[in-house]
């Protein structure tokens, strides 16, 4: 039986990827941030997940205004790192799990989620930076990854509630898969950041820490938060936090918090990170 054993949330700031790729992780600016992931690397080395359902948003890399899906699932065999304007990140290709992905797609569509299935797409920093943070710089990623892309670029994204419910649907889908797989769900993006306009640089520590707390212990209540509150309190790009609710919905109502980390700043962004285990 496939089972979801744990969830991870983390910001996916592109500058973090650049710091890793350029060997800057021990520099004064970056060291405190990477220190927050030392436990995480040990933890995942022990957990050895077979597959990660990696919930992220594409940042106008695979999808443009030609075509913008609300929820897309990668059912292909491989996904290449995207060229976002400075060449692709020097990281391994992402190997999918087509059987599990197709099973999830079928199950989740039958649970009334209107997925878009994608066999060919490149994956940008939203997906590759969390892999780098958790796994470092291996020659190949140590597990399979199913990309689940959520639109948060074009307003309106799916609601927090919808994301939370998608997590629950993913859980049911994985539970009904025959293979013996250790599956994790990751929710990425956030925390508070605004990358545009005169209000750029907004950081809301209080909001972020409250969000971390409620995500662990009051996800039902948190899932009711309207979009405008994310944008007003956590910056226009803080809306990415809805994706963390997909992760949370896929876990048990009560979870064990293994790790929590919060750091400001990484470039323009507040970095938040959680590791939660099902009992």
């Amino acid at each position: 039986m496939a089972r979801i054993t744990a969830g991870v949330t983390t910001s996916h700031v592109p500058a973090i990827g650049a710091a890793i790729d350029l060997g800057k992780t021990q520099q004064e600016y970056w060291a405190p941030l990477f220190k927050g992931y030392e436990y995480s690397k040990r933890w995942i080395g022990e957990q050895k997940p077979d597959v990660i359902l990696l919930v992220y948003n594409d940042h106008a890399s695979a999808f443009s205004m030609e075509l913008m899906p609300t929820f897309a699932i990668g059912t292909g065999e491989k996904f290449q790192p995207a060229d976002e304007g400075w060449g692709p990140r020097p990281v391994p290709e992402v190997v999918g799990h087509p059987e599990l992905a197709a099973h999830i797609a079928q199950s989740v569509i039958q649970q009334d989620f209107d997925l878009t299935l994608v066999n060919r797409m490149d994956v940008d920093h939203g997906l590759t930076v969390p892999l780098s943070l958790m796994f470092g710089q291996p020659g190949a990623w140590p597990c399979k990854v199913i990309p689940i892309a959520v639109n948060v670029v074009l307003y309106p994204p799916p609601s927090g509630r919808r994301c939370y419910e998608l997590g629950k649907a993913l859980r049911r889908a994985v539970d009904s898969f025959d293979g013996d797989l250790n599956v994790q769900v990751w929710g990425t993006g956030g925390m508070s950041h605004q990358l545009q306009g005169p209000r750029a640089g907004l950081i809301n520590r209080e909001f972020d820490n409250d969000f971390l707390e409620r995500l662990v212990n009051d996800p039902e209540g948190l899932s009711q938060m309207p979009h405008v509150e994310y944008m007003r309190e956590a910056g226009s790009e803080g809306i990415e936090l809805v994706m963390w609710l997909v992760m949370r919905g896929a876990l048990d109502d009560k979870v064990t918090e293994k790790h929590r980390f919060y750091h400001v700043p990484a470039s323009n962004t507040a970095v938040g990170h959680l590791i939660l285990e099902n009992s």
Binding site: A60, D83, E84, L154, G197, L202, S236, N268
Partner: protein
């Protein structure tokens, strides 16, 4: 038209909704083209000529030439699309963000190191402090 915009009262913030996406369509598609190395080379070699290949408005083209990101956003650009321009320039998100705030990159970086821009006074238009 009758799109509900509860976010219209957030200061210094343009939400990329359907109305903005329509205005900015060709600007944003031009940005997408910069994901190919060949196109970046052609753009760098002659920015004006490259821009003229796209059905953008003159104002949009000028804003790109000026690297005026606030203006590009006013004209329908979205920051994730516009990122392809400053990436092509070899510049960072932090550089671009700084230019939009009217601060130098040093001042902006220092603000971020000090914990970022406070939400106090920056939640609603009518309470805006005007700067950080």
């Amino acid at each position: 038209m009758s799109l509900d915009k509860p976010y219209a009262d957030i200061p210094g913030t343009t939400v990329f909704d359907a109305d903005m996406a329509r205005v900015g369509y060709h600007l944003n598609q031009f940005c997408m083209s910069l994901m190919k190395a060949d196109n970046r080379e052609r753009f760098k070699a002659d920015e004006r000529a490259y821009l003229d290949e796209w059905s953008m408005t003159e104002a949009q083209k000028q804003a790109v030439l000026d690297r005026d990101y606030n203006r590009m956003i006013d004209l329908g650009g979205n920051i994730y699309f516009l990122a392809k321009i400053f990436s092509t320039d070899g510049l960072s998100f932090q550089h671009a963000a700084a230019t939009m705030t009217g601060m130098s990159q040093e001042e902006y970086a220092q603000m971020m190191l000090s914990g970022g821009r406070s939400p106090e006074g920056n939640r609603y238009l009518n309470e805006t402090s005007g700067g950080d």
